[in-house]
Amino acid sequence: MATKKHFLLPTVISTFIDKHVEAWLSKRLPKSDEHQLNSANIIIYPTRFGLSYVAFVILVFVLGTNYQNNIILLLSYLLASLFMSVMLHSFYNLSQLRCYSQAKQQGYADDVLYFVINITTKKTHYDINAQFSDGTLNSTVEKIAQCHQGSHLIKIPYKSSTRGKHYLGRVSVFSEYSLGIFKSKAMLDFGHYAIIYPKPKYVNYQQYSLSAPLNEASYEHCQTVATLGTDDFFELKPFVKGESRARTAWKQMAKGQGHYSKHYQANQPTLTWLSLDSMPGNNVETKLAYLSFLITELTANNQSFGLVLGTETGDETLTITPNVGVLHQQDCLTALALYR
């Protein structure tokens, strides 16, 4: 029993510490779109090189003492006080930085998303780096060697292969400026999260996009003007000089109703419902991938569509009414990403 406790204790303590550090951090550095770096949120600590620098200074001190050599002692004192000066410079290099970033980014799985941090400075800063603090994200360190007065963008890439909503945690903005002895770091919480859409998978979309019956007029038109493909008949207008004769509504003209020309409007909304159930395959992820592809294609072609996502049991059904446009696409893809 005692041994068990002995083994348990460290994990208990570590989780306890983790919890409290996180709580402390979130209390001290709350979530916000914008952060101003100052003494409240900058942590400064010596790097490994900084520690070896201290050891080196002590070594020089011992050398000077052993040889009773004042100049070497003076050198060690100078290096020691340099340590302190560098600490202050390191801190001031990072402070007064203003960081702004949007919380949400969205994109397909396996695509690289960029979380853009807008940095505004009042003075010149050096060696500004940014990275997601979460080590499991394996995010690369993005660097600006020299920030002049003004605003700068740092783009932190993020890539995921699983769909869903991913919280990315804090961003650490850090700098080892001056001599690499100190690392000043700010763990900023922008509330970053990524909506990862399922990765599109090709499916022959003709068979889904044109599922609604064609009306007579457009049918006719399909025969006459094959090149305009999906364009639909819209209205008749009085003929204007210079218009193509090919558009003349001969039917009306023959009836003696006057010279009209036919007008078409491209992509006149065709009612299309995309549904999870109608997708081929028996894996939900595959079906979602097909849907993702279709939504993207249809939006690219400016076609209207709606989305029906239902669980197999049919308890909860999510329906998005037919619409067009990028926002609609985002809504639909987000629904796919969050589908359970």
Partner: protein, 739 residues
């Protein structure tokens, strides 16, 4: 099993990939700077390294330079070859080329073999060069080799710290002002190279500037630490330097001191404080007494040299004026010290030992500048007593070694029964015959004094002193040779204060190696040891004021140094500069190099009273706070955006005032908005003011942006003034109406 292997391989691949991400890259310029920095660091300590190691190091550095150069070439060739390919691809290639550490071509096996070989050679040579020197050899060797494996940032850091350590260890050997300043300069360069890693964009000179600023901000705390941080005694025994001995040697042949006088290096300095400096001819700085003569060379008598003298103050006549002074010797890697005999050393100072023959020596070999306090009684006689053994020793000469001189001595003994008259006769002979005083005496066969005295008749001080001492001994007078320095160069002001007749002197006496001298002492019953300088008979100027012009010229011919003293002394401003630097160097030696624990305690007592650790802590904390305040202030000062210092023109003032008036209405002009746009805005919001304001704005625009002749400008100014007044009037009346 296979599965496991595959997994392992995969892992290896992954790890190399992650490593590549953090791979260390050095900019081309930075790599060269690092190389230069290494060369300079090695140069500082080069004097302490053996020739063979220097050869190896220079080969390694040249190899590195070659690799660096080659890398650049390859990069440019690649760039030409791939010009037709995609730009991005090309960039990648180039970057890869540049990102490669510049020494990838050297395989690690070769490096290891090289390192091991080098270590073996150093270990073999360790006996020859001494422990400290071989450690320094090892340090420098590893410093140069390390540069071949800069694989990541850690290697760079290690190289940097090694470089600093090379600088620090160079300070073991030399601490004077010049080498300290050189070390400081190199420290700045080293730090600048490190800084460049973090701000590669800026120029190297900006880095130097930043580093100087950083160091300047650190100086205060460093100085306070130096003053109050307790001095500790050595933690453990360290190997001492085994540098070549400089200065006088304890065995002297006739030609020896002439060689020494080619050097214009500093031997020691004497500070007489407020007292008057004795006349030049009194400044016989005694270093060693040489009593044994074997027919060729003079050596010390081991017995008298060993005997410690317990010289009490009361043994010296109190009526004789005392002269106390401080001597600061440069490291000579020997033990003898200098004194104006007879002298008593500071009783507290146990590191200075007085001897029977009125010389003093140091307890340990002098490896760094050392100060000691002495009190001399210049006109007091040396000891009256002469023991039997001493008498015998000071009368001994190898019979028949210089037969002619012996014959002369017997003749003199017969002619001049009085001891002092006999000595005077020899001096007179030297003076009247055609003897000459020269730095380039003709070579003597077998160091024969006969040959010198009767044939060549040209020599330096040792020739005359040896011959004189020999004659004295041969004629039955106990005599000995004394070596040391004569005179010195006074650096400072030396005035007599009119009314009181007191001396006020501020400065010190610098004694250089070329001041080395040798003279004789004869023992006269009832008078003790008397100093007789035969040089005075041949070159009186040497005794009274120093080197003659002819000697200086001779020295400048013999001297291999870049600026001989003769040339320096001839150019007035250079000489002043030299003297000023010498004074600075003296202060440095005195206050920094010679700042002992005792001095630290004294300084502490004078400023803060009784020493206590809480006081030290308080002082350190205070100075830390002050430094922080200074740094904060200076950061603020340097980072403050530069404001336009040009005063506003009249029309700008009017326009600004008009804007403030409008601002009172609640319409503010954003800085980014143009004048014309703002006019439109005014039109939209306050149509009543619009006409007047747009006129004002138009004039303002013209004055600002159009090139006008002075008359036009004056005219327009008048117009604008009127427009401004109109506008102000309009605003006021408008306000009035509103109220």
């Amino acid at each position: 099993m296979i599965f496991f292997n595959a997994k392992a391989k995969h892992k290896v691949k992954e790890s190399t990939q992650t490593k590549r991400v953090i791979a260390f890259s050095l900019h081309r310029k930075n790599a060269w700077l690092l190389w230069l920095c290494q060369c300079l660091n090695i140069a500082v300590i080069a004097l302490e390294l053996s020739t063979w190691l220097l050869a190896i190091i220079s080969v390694l550095l040249a190899w590195q330079a070659f690799l660096l150069h080659n890398n650049k070439k390859q990069a440019s060739i690649k760039a030409v070859h791939q010009n037709h390919q995609l730009r991005k691809h090309l960039d990648n290639q180039l970057q890869n080329q540049q990102n490669k550490p510049f020494t990838t071509h050297v395989s690690s096996i070769l490096l290891t073999v090289f390192a091991v070989l080098g270590c073996i050679v150093i270990a073999i040579k360790a006996n020859q060069v001494g422990i400290l020197a071989s450690m320094v050899h090892l340090l420098c060797f590893s410093y140069v080799l390390k540069a071949f494996e800069l694989k990541n940032r850690r290697d760079f850091y290690q190289l940097f710290l090694l470089g600093l350590f090379v600088l620090a260890s160079a300070l073991i050997f030399r601490q004077n002002l010049t080498s300290s300043l050189i070390t400081l300069a190199l420290l700045i360069i080293n730090l600048a190279v490190l800084l460049q890693l973090f701000t590669p964009v800026r120029s190297f000179f900006t880095h130097i500037k930043v580093i100087i600023m950083l160091l300047a901000q650190s100086v205060l705390l460093a100085v306070v630490l130096f003053l109050v941080f307790p001095r500790l005694s050595p933690f453990w025994q360290v190997p001492l330097t085994q540098s070549a001995e400089t200065g006088l040697s304890d065995r002297v042949k006739p030609g020896d001191i002439a060689n020494l006088s080619r050097s214009s290096a500093l031997a020691f300095r004497a500070d007489f404080g407020q007292q008057a400096v004795p006349p030049y001819s009194q400044l016989y700085w005694r270093a060693m007494v040489l009593e044994n003569f074997d027919g060729k060379q003079w050596t010390r008598n081991k017995l008298t040299a060993k005997n410690k003298r317990v010289l009490a103050v009361n043994s010296i006549d109190t009526s004789v004026t005392a002269l106390s002074y401080q001597i600061t010797v440069e490291p000579s890697f020997q033990r003898y010290l200098f004194t104006l005999a007879p002298a008593i050393s500071d009783q507290e100072n146990k590191t200075v030992i007085s001897h029977d023959d009125y010389t003093v020596s140091s307890e340990k070999t002098i490896t760094q500048a050392k100060s000691y306090q002495l009190t001399s009684y210049l006109s007091a006689p040396l000891t009256f007593a002469l023991s039997k053994e001493n008498r015998l020793a000071n009368l001994y000469y190898p019979q028949g070694s210089n037969p002619k001189l012996e014959q002369l001595a017997l003749q003199l003994q017969h002619n001049y029964p009085n001891v002092q008259a006999r000595a005077q006769a020899v001096l007179a002979r030297i003076n009247t015959q055609s003897f000459s005083y020269t730095l380039q005496p003709p070579l003597l066969i077998n160091n024969s004094l006969d040959q010198f005295f009767f044939e060549t008749q040209a020599g330096f001080c040792v020739h005359y002193a040896s011959a004189f001492t020999f004659i004295m001994r041969a004629s039955g007078i106990p005599a000995r040779l004394v070596t040391g320095y004569l005179g010195g160069e006074y650096n400072g002001t030396n005035n007599i204060l009119g009314s009181t007749g007191q001396w006020s002197s501020q400065g010190h006496l610098s004694i250089y190696q070329y001041d080395a001298h040798a003279w004789s002492e004869i023992w006269v019953a009832g008078k003790g040891w008397l100093r007789i300088d035969p040089t005075s008979a041949v070159d009186p100027q040497r005794i009274n004021s120093g080197w003659s012009r002819q000697l200086l010229q001779e020295q400048s011919l013999l001297n291999q140094e870049l600026f001989s003293l003769y040339q320096l002394k001839n150019i007035a401003w250079l000489n002043t500069l030299r003297l000023q630097f010498d004074a600075l160097d003296y202060q440095w030696t005195r206050w920094v190099i010679g700042f002992t624990r005792k001095q630290q305690t004294d300084v502490f007592k004078r400023w803060f009273g009784h020493r206590a650790s809480w006081k030290t802590a308080l002082i350190l904390t205070l100075s830390l706070l002050v430094s922080v305040a200074i740094i904060l202030f200076s950061i603020d000062f340097f980072n403050r955006p530069k404001r336009a210092t040009v005063p506003l023109k009249k029309w700008q003032l009017w326009y600004q005032k008009a804007l403030t008036l409008l601002a009172n209405y609640g319409l503010e002009k954003p800085a980014a908005m143009t004048v014309t746009d703002f006019t439109q805005q005014v039109q939209a919001h306050y149509p009543r003011l619009a006409i007047a304001f747009s006129r004002l704005s138009a004039s303002y625009n013209r004055l600002c942006y159009q090139s006008l002749s002075t008359s036009e400008q004056a005219e327009l100014l008048l117009v604008m003034q009127q427009q401004y007044h109109d506008f102000v009037h309009l605003v006021k009346s408008d306000n009035h109406k509103a109220s």
